[in-house]
């Protein structure tokens, strides 16, 4: 495959991974705030949430591998693993590397969840929210498609969905505390 084709795959998987991450985030917020409706059981939402999270990590890894294989991107092993080492678009790639780490931590701590303390697991799991935000920032700053209207509209819609789900979750948390207090 040519560098140009790897570049296309990098862009495509980056966009899909961002959408999947936002979808996992939204489903997770709806599930944890008990706003999943009556049509599906909570286990269904949890199952889908876990799957979307894992798929997000897979597409993120493909995104990284494709950018590594594209020799024109200037991304090497050091830039992939260590934040702040990229020469071009240093900050944007830094956000992407950190977001990848948060996704990986979130996924890999969900499997041995029962062995972790609930508070610690929840704290680690919530870092994925920061990861999604950083992934969106990464796409906005480094993506060549960020200048297109379709990409900006899609990014705005996904961001609005994520903020809405976050609002629902925070509201549910406040309501629960009010009832308990």
């Amino acid at each position: 495959m040519t560098d140009t084709q790897w570049w296309y795959i990098t862009r495509a998987t980056g966009i899909v991974a961002t959408v999947l991450a936002v979808a996992a985030l939204v489903f997770g917020f709806f599930f944890s705030s008990r706003n999943t409706g009556e049509r599906r059981r909570p286990a269904w939402w949890l199952d889908l949430h876990n799957w979307l999270g894992g798929t997000t990590l897979v597409f993120t890894v493909v995104h990284i591998v494709a950018s590594y294989l594209d020799r024109n991107s200037g991304i090497g092993l050091l830039q992939v693993l260590v934040p702040g080492t990229a020469k071009n678009a240093s900050w944007a790639i830094t956000w992407g590397v950190i977001a990848t780490y948060t996704f990986a931590i979130t996924v890999f701590t969900s499997w041995p969840r029962k062995r972790l303390r609930p508070r610690l697991w929840r704290l680690v799991h919530l870092t994925s929210v920061v990861g999604v935000a950083l992934a969106g920032l990464h796409a906005f700053q480094v993506g060549i498609d960020a200048t297109t209207l379709a990409f900006e509209a899609g990014l705005a819609i996904t961001a609005a969905l994520a903020v809405y789900a976050l609002g629902v979750r925070v509201l549910a948390l406040l309501v629960n505390r009010t009832h308990q207090g």
Partner: protein, 302 residues
């Protein structure tokens, strides 16, 4: 034995139950309570393992008819810690324990039970398929956009048409432009008269627009530019550019046709493979421009 009442004849479970019964009587005879009525079922002792307890429960509740075949029940593990909630549950546990050899785990779930275990199976694979399809579609879109951009750049590099006094079929009034005036862009041939000559011969560029030839993909119109009686440039006034495919085709075809015209100095050129409609319309428009040039007095055309 009472087990025969709930199991059909020939069921392999019967032989397993009988074997387990023999083992129980031979090893743990003192630890299994016997002689009790079905409603006086005693909870298991600490030394009674799950299989023995399940077998005991099955034998005690055997007189009651089994509502469904044993294969349709979910394989719930029999726990010796608490007695079953109902006689039906006890029968289920007994059948399951008897079917499951010692040291082996439960069989993999299937059908409805599997859906309960993996509730969002359809949605998950749908999401995965959608993600892969979206990725492939985006890759194709990016490649298409990139190719179209390259084609647009190639078309933009083609020579542009110069203004003519009359267009269309009127043959008599071609535009006559001194070569020193900057009406022809840098891509066209512009000969500047040397200043040292006292009476310079100022070459002129004469432009003739060919007819507009409609194709199913859009109109094609060619402009011929003559310098010193020969074809010095061929510009394309109009070509099909309504979609990306037409742009890509014409970005390849139009430069080829232009080079052929400049080389042949006539309309006797070959069509470009894969651009038949554009080629034919190009040649027709070119021929009409040549006809106009001949009518205007340019006769050095083949």
């Amino acid at each position: 034995m009472s087990d025969r009442r709930i199991l059909p004849p020939g069921d392999p479970l019967l032989a397993r139950l009988e074997r387990l019964e023999r083992e129980r009587q031979g090893t743990n005879n003192r630890q299994v309570p016997t002689g009790t009525s079905p409603r006086q079922f005693a909870p298991p002792t600490a030394t009674l393992n799950a299989r023995q307890y399940a077998l005991q429960a099955a034998r005690q509740y055997a007189p009651q008819p089994a509502p469904q075949p044993a294969r349709q029940y979910a394989p719930q593990p029999a726990s010796p810690a608490a007695p079953p909630a109902s006689p039906q549950a006890a029968r289920l546990a007994a059948l399951q324990a008897a079917r499951q050899p010692a040291g082996q785990t439960a069989r993999p779930l299937a059908g409805k039970q599997a859906r309960r275990k993996r509730p969002a199976r359809v949605a998950k694979f749908g999401a995965l398929a959608l993600s892969c399809a979206t990725t492939a579609g985006l890759v194709y879109l990016f490649a298409d956009i990139n190719t179209t951009q390259a084609a647009n750049q190639a078309l933009a590099a083609l020579p542009t048409a110069v203004p003519v006094a009359t267009t269309g079929a009127a043959p008599a009034t071609p535009s006559t432009v001194p070569a020193t005036t900057p009406v022809v862009d840098s891509a066209t041939t512009v000969v500047v008269a040397p200043t040292t000559i006292a009476a310079p011969v100022v070459p002129v560029v004469q432009a003739f627009n060919g007819d507009v030839i409609d194709t199913r993909y859009g109109p094609v119109q060619v402009q011929l530019q003559f310098t010193n009686g020969g074809i010095s440039e061929v510009a394309v006034v109009a070509y099909p550019d309504g979609d990306g495919t037409s742009v890509r085709i014409n970005a390849r075809a139009l430069p080829t046709l232009r080079n052929e015209v400049l080389a042949a100095q006539s309309a006797q050129i070959n069509s470009v493979s894969g651009a038949t409609y554009t080629s034919n319309a190009y040649k027709k428009s070119l021929q009409s421009a040549i006809d106009q040039a001949r009518a205007a007095g340019i006769t050095a055309i083949a």
